[in-house]
C-alpha cells in the first residue's frame, strides 16, 4: 500500500511539486511579514491613476503608461539596430580582411569592458553634440551599440557552429560568399541562436531603463518622479517591475513559438 502511494507520487511528480509550493508560499509569507515589520503603509489603491484614468468616459494614459510607450519605442528601435550591428560585427570578425577584424575587435573590447552607464553619458555629452543628435537618438544608439556587441558574439558562435560541410557544399556549387550566407549559413545559424538572441532582447528591455539618466522620460524615469513626489516607492517600483516582467515573458513566449515552428533537424 505504502509503496503504491509512493509510486503514484513519483509518477505525478507530486513530491517535487509540493516542495516547490511550500517554498513559494513560504517566500511570499516572509516577504509580507518583512513589509509589515517595517511598518510600511501600503497604498496600492493610489496606483491605478498613475497607470490610466477615465475622464468623461475617455481613456487617458497615466505617466507610467506614457513612459511604457517611450520604453517600447526605445526597445524596438534599439532591438533592430542591435541585431543589425551584431550581424555586421560578427561578419567583420569572420572576414579575411585584417582591417575589418581589427575594427570589430576594438569595438567589442571597448563596449563590453566599460559600463553601459558611462557609454550612455559618453554618447550624450561627447558624441551627440558632434553629430547633432537629440537625446532619444543618443540613448538608442548607446543601447544598440552596447547590446550589439553581445549580439555579435551570439551570431558568431551560431555561424561557426554550422557544419563545415555546409560551407563546402555551397562552395562547390559555385555560390558566392553573399549567397552562401544569405541562403545557407544564416538561415541555419539563426534558428540555433534564437534563444540567446531572445535573452539579449530581454536584457535590452531591462537596460533601456538606464537611459533615464539622460532625462529620457521612459517608464523608469517617470516612476522615479512619481515615487519622489508621492513616496509610494514600493508600490510604484513593484508595478513597473511587473510590467517589465510581462514584456519579457511575452517576448520569450513568442520566440519559443517561432523556434518550435522553424526547427531544423540536422
Amino acid at each position: 500500500m505504502g509503496s503504491s502511494i509512493l509510486q503514484f507520487c513519483k509518477r505525478h511528480h507530486l513530491l517535487d511539486f509540493s516542495a516547490y509550493l511550500v517554498l513559494m508560499v513560504g517566500g511570499i509569507i516572509l516577504l509580507l511579514k518583512g513589509a509589515e515589520d517595517q511598518g510600511y503603509y501600503w497604498q496600492w489603491f493610489r496606483i491605478p491613476k498613475f497607470l490610466y484614468q477615465f475622464e468623461d468616459g475617455r481613456f487617458i494614459a497615466g505617466p507610467i503608461l506614457n513612459g511604457l510607450k517611450i520604453t517600447l519605442n526605445i526597445t524596438w528601435i534599439s532591438l533592430i539596430l542591435t541585431y543589425i550591428i551584431g550581424l555586421v560585427t560578427a561578419l567583420m570578425r569572420l572576414s579575411n580582411s585584417l582591417m575589418a577584424r581589427g575594427i570589430a575587435r576594438a569595438y567589442l573590447e571597448l563596449t563590453r569592458n566599460t559600463p553601459l552607464l558611462v557609454q550612455i553619458f559618453f554618447m550624450y555629452f561627447v558624441v551627440a553634440p558632434i553629430l547633432d543628435i537629440d537625446r532619444f537618438t543618443a540613448g538608442v544608439l548607446a543601447l544598440s551599440l552596447f547590446e550589439g556587441s553581445y549580439a555579435s558574439e551570439i551570431y558568431r558562435a551560431g555561424i561557426v557552429a554550422v557544419n563545415k560541410g555546409q560551407w563546402e557544399a555551397s562552395y562547390t556549387l559555385g555560390l558566392s560568399s553573399y549567397q552562401n550566407y544569405r541562403y545557407i549559413i544564416l538561415p541555419q545559424a539563426i534558428r540555433r541562436i534564437l534563444p540567446p538572441l531572445t535573452s539579449q532582447a530581454i536584457s535590452l528591455i531591462k537596460d533601456s531603463s538606464l537611459v533615464s539618466v539622460i532625462a529620457i522620460y521612459e517608464m523608469t524615469m517617470n516612476a522615479n518622479e512619481i515615487a519622489s513626489e508621492t513616496f509610494l516607492v514600493f508600490e510604484i517600483f513593484f508595478t513597473i517591475a511587473a510590467i517589465y516582467l510581462a514584456l519579457a515573458l511575452t517576448l520569450s513566449r513568442v520566440v519559443a513559438y517561432f523556434e518550435k515552428r522553424y526547427r531544423v533537424v540536422t
Partner: protein
C-alpha cells in the same frame, strides 16, 4: 576490353604539393592528366592523400606548389577562374552535406537559380527530371532528415548534376552508408559513367573500381605508388605495396 572513346585532357595536374598547417604532408609532387569521359578511381590507405587531391582539384584546399588546369582554366588566385572551375566540377561528399533547412526540391534548384541564373520553373523542371534519374522523384518535397542515407546521397548527386558540371568528383560517396544502401548509390554512379561523364572517384568499393573505372591510381603518403587500367591493376599489380594493399582489402 574497354572500347570507350576518350576526348582531350580536361584536367591537368602538374607536380602539386600540399602540406597542412600541422605539418602533415598530404601531397608530394603529384601529377596526373584526366581525359574527357574518363573514370579515374583513386584508392589507397586512409591518410594517403586521395581526398586531399580531390579537394585541391576544385580549390577547397590550396596547393602549395605545382599547377592545376581544368578545361583550360588555370586554378590560380583569380577569383573568376576559381568560380568558373567550381561551376564545372561537381562534388559529392561522404556525408552528403545536403542543406537541412531546405526541401529536396530546393536543395537541388537553389544553385541553378542563383549560379546558373535559371528561372524557378526551369530549375524545378530540371530538378524533377534529375530526381527521376536517381529514382527518388516522390521525395521532392520532403526535408533531407526524412530520407535514408542512400536517398540523401542520391539527392546530393542530383544536386551536383543540376549544375551541368563537366567533371564529377566523388569523395568516398558510399563510406557513410549502411551496406544495403551502397548498391543504389553505386548504380547511379555507374549510369553516369556509362553516359560518358568524366569522373574522379575516391572509393573503397573495389568491385566498382574494377567494373567501372578506366584508370586506377594507388596512392600512399601523398604519392602515386602505381597506376594502370583496372584490368592490369587488379589482376597484375607490379609493386609489392599494391599487392599487399589489395590482398588486405579484396
Amino acid at each position: 576490353m574497354n572500347t570507350k572513346e576518350f576526348g582531350d585532357y580536361i584536367i591537368r595536374v602538374d607536380n602539386i604539393g600540399k602540406t597542412f598547417d600541422n605539418g602533415v604532408v598530404a601531397l608530394k609532387d603529384f601529377s596526373t592528366n584526366i581525359r574527357r569521359s574518363e573514370v579515374v578511381v583513386l584508392i589507397g590507405p586512409s591518410g594517403s592523400g586521395k581526398s586531399t587531391f580531390l579537394r585541391c582539384l576544385n580549390g577547397l584546399e590550396e596547393i602549395d606548389s605545382g599547377s592545376i588546369t581544368v578545361d583550360g582554366i588555370p586554378l590560380d588566385d583569380n577569383k573568376k577562374n576559381r568560380l568558373e572551375i567550381r561551376k564545372e566540377v561537381g562534388m559529392v561528399f561522404q556525408h552528403f552535406n545536403l542543406f537541412p533547412h531546405l526541401t529536396v526540391l530546393k536543395n537541388i534548384s537553389l544553385a541553378q537559380m542563383l549560379v546558373r541564373k535559371k528561372s524557378r520553373v526551369e530549375a524545378e523542371d530540371e530538378t524533377m527530371q534529375l530526381l527521376k534519374k536517381v529514382n527518388i522523384a516522390e521525395k521532392a518535397n520532403v526535408f533531407p532528415s526524412q530520407l535514408s542515407g542512400g536517398q540523401q546521397q542520391r539527392v546530393a548527386i542530383a544536386r551536383a548534376l543540376a549544375m551541368k558540371p563537366k567533371v564529377m568528383m566523388f569523395d568516398e560517396a558510399t563510406s557513410a552508408l549502411d551496406p544495403e544502401m551502397i548498391g543504389e548509390v553505386l548504380e547511379v554512379m555507374k549510369d553516369l559513367a556509362v553516359e560518358g561523364m568524366t569522373m574522379v572517384v575516391v572509393t573503397h568499393e573495389m568491385g566498382f573500381a574494377r567494373e567501372v573505372s578506366d584508370w586506377v591510381i594507388f596512392m600512399e603518403d601523398g604519392m602515386k605508388v602505381e597506376e594502370g587500367t583496372a584490368e592490369h591493376f587488379f589482376s597484375d599489380p607490379k609493386m609489392d605495396r599494391t599487392k599487399l594493399f589489395l590482398s588486405q582489402i579484396l
